[in-house]
Amino acid sequence: MLKRYFLKAALGAALFAGAAISAPMAAHAADDALARIKAAGVMKVGTETAFAPFDFIDAGDHVGLNVDFFAELGKDLGVKIEWVALPWDGVFPALEAGKFDFVAGPATITKARLERFKMTAPIAEATVAILKKAGDKTITKPEDIAGKAVGSGKATAQFAQLQEYSKTLPKPVEAREYVSFNDAYADLAAGRIVAVANSLPNIAYVAKQRNGAFEVVTPAFGKKSYFGFIGKKDEDSKTLVDYVNSEVIKMKKDGRLGKMQEKWFGTTFDTPDEVKEPAF
């Protein structure tokens, strides 16, 4: 009876799905990741748009140091940059699944990440410090957060640093994970947490943007670390990673990176050309 029609329709659906799948497969014929990007004329970059001033949405426009950097890279390589914005904890799984060619982020260069991914030369310093509510006299130095509620981003190296630092304190901090740092800043403003642990360039920017609301607590408590962009470790991505890396070095030498740092952080960073042995 009606089952025969069901079967026919199912067959049709399967054929349609097959055709839809085979199209993107054909694009994989070229040599390697870099060659395919050149051939397609598009480089897909994955990122999280809640990481000011590297990557954020300013009244509807996607801006930040990442956007400026990859715009320059796209010009040099002669390709268009296509952005894919995901929550941060979804970015690395999506990179491994091949949803995009590179990750902007940026991410702190850590030992664990180097084991799984390739990271470019540093684009900024990433050392972690504390952001507090302006005028909070109970926190004047990093160790004052002992026993208090402190927020950080989920699946971030900054959160790991906070937990590690917490162990060295007389009383552990109540570490809270947030989907994005923006949510942590909002809870700091609302008084649900007393501090946010994030990298210096980020919190310096936030303190400046929300003038008067937040303050950075110096010195930084984390170990000295750096931000880099992230690519895949496989053979297929080797030339692509090398290329992005050479672009970082090139822009550092010709002053373009310095200008971007000046524009987004109000200061420049002295970063090494390579991080062989991350501090953690």
Binding site: L2, A20, M25, A50, F56, A59, V84, L86
Partner: protein
């Protein structure tokens, strides 16, 4: 809260409405086949259909979306964000709509089907001209309900990289530090969209001739 911000929210709402409507339509087509298969007495039809329905009703939509986005490439199916979002929503709503329709099909009086056969309609004609229209009429309120659910669930597709209404509101709230007016506007936009859907639904229900079989 400026006009520019509100315009950005409205633009994002277009993505919400577009993705939802396409998914509801695709889901409905799949649901008709699924419910037919689920009603079959042959295991080769009803077993896969029951399995499909229990999977897509039993796994959170958020997990389904992440699976479609990141697991499928492992077996060589790499779909862009927009396709992953539509496939996820369609398959999920198909499972729910199939259950609604099954209830509808089961409520078609057997006498009507026998009458159709007696008047010389073949099984295919009986299915598409008698059973589907009656089942649809019976399940229409549930379908409108499901459409509203999917419109609201579409706020989850930002996890696969789609900027829809909720994600845009979050982005704007964090860059402008105006969470209250922005989320209130987003809520208002959702409310307006869903009110329109429910009004259209009620109008369509009336023109279908009510819920009488």
């Amino acid at each position: 809260m400026t006009l520019k911000l509100f315009t950005l929210l409205l633009q994002a709402a277009i993505a919400t409405v577009g993705i939802s409507l396409v998914s509801i339509a695709i889901g409905f087509a799949i649901a008709i086949l699924l419910s037919a298969a689920a009603l079959s007495r042959k295991p080769i039809y009803f077993l896969p259909a029951r399995l499909f329905i229990s999977f897509f009703r039993g796994v959170p939509l958020l997990v389904q979306l992440l699976l479609i986005y990141t697991l499928l490439p492992v077996i060589g199916i790499n779909v862009p964000s927009i396709v992953a979002a539509i496939v996820g929503l369609s398959l999920c709503t198909a499972a729910y709509q199939a259950e609604n329709l099954r209830g509808g099909f089961e409520s078609v009086p057997i006498g009507l089907i026998e009458a159709a056969e007696v008047t010389g309609l073949n099984p295919r004609q009986t299915f598409f001209r008698i059973r589907v229209p009656i089942a649809m009429r019976l399940t229409f309120p549930a379908l409108v309900n499901e459409a509203i659910m999917i419109l609201k669930s579409s706020s989850l597709v930002s996890v696969v990289g789609i900027i829809e209404l909720t994600k845009m509101a979050q982005d704007l709230a964090s860059s402008t530090y105006l969470p209250i007016p922005i989320f209130a506007s987003a809520a208002l936009i959702y409310l307006v969209i869903n009110s329109v859907v429910s009004l259209v639904g009620r109008f369509a229900e009336r023109s279908l001739g009510g819920a009488s079989a």
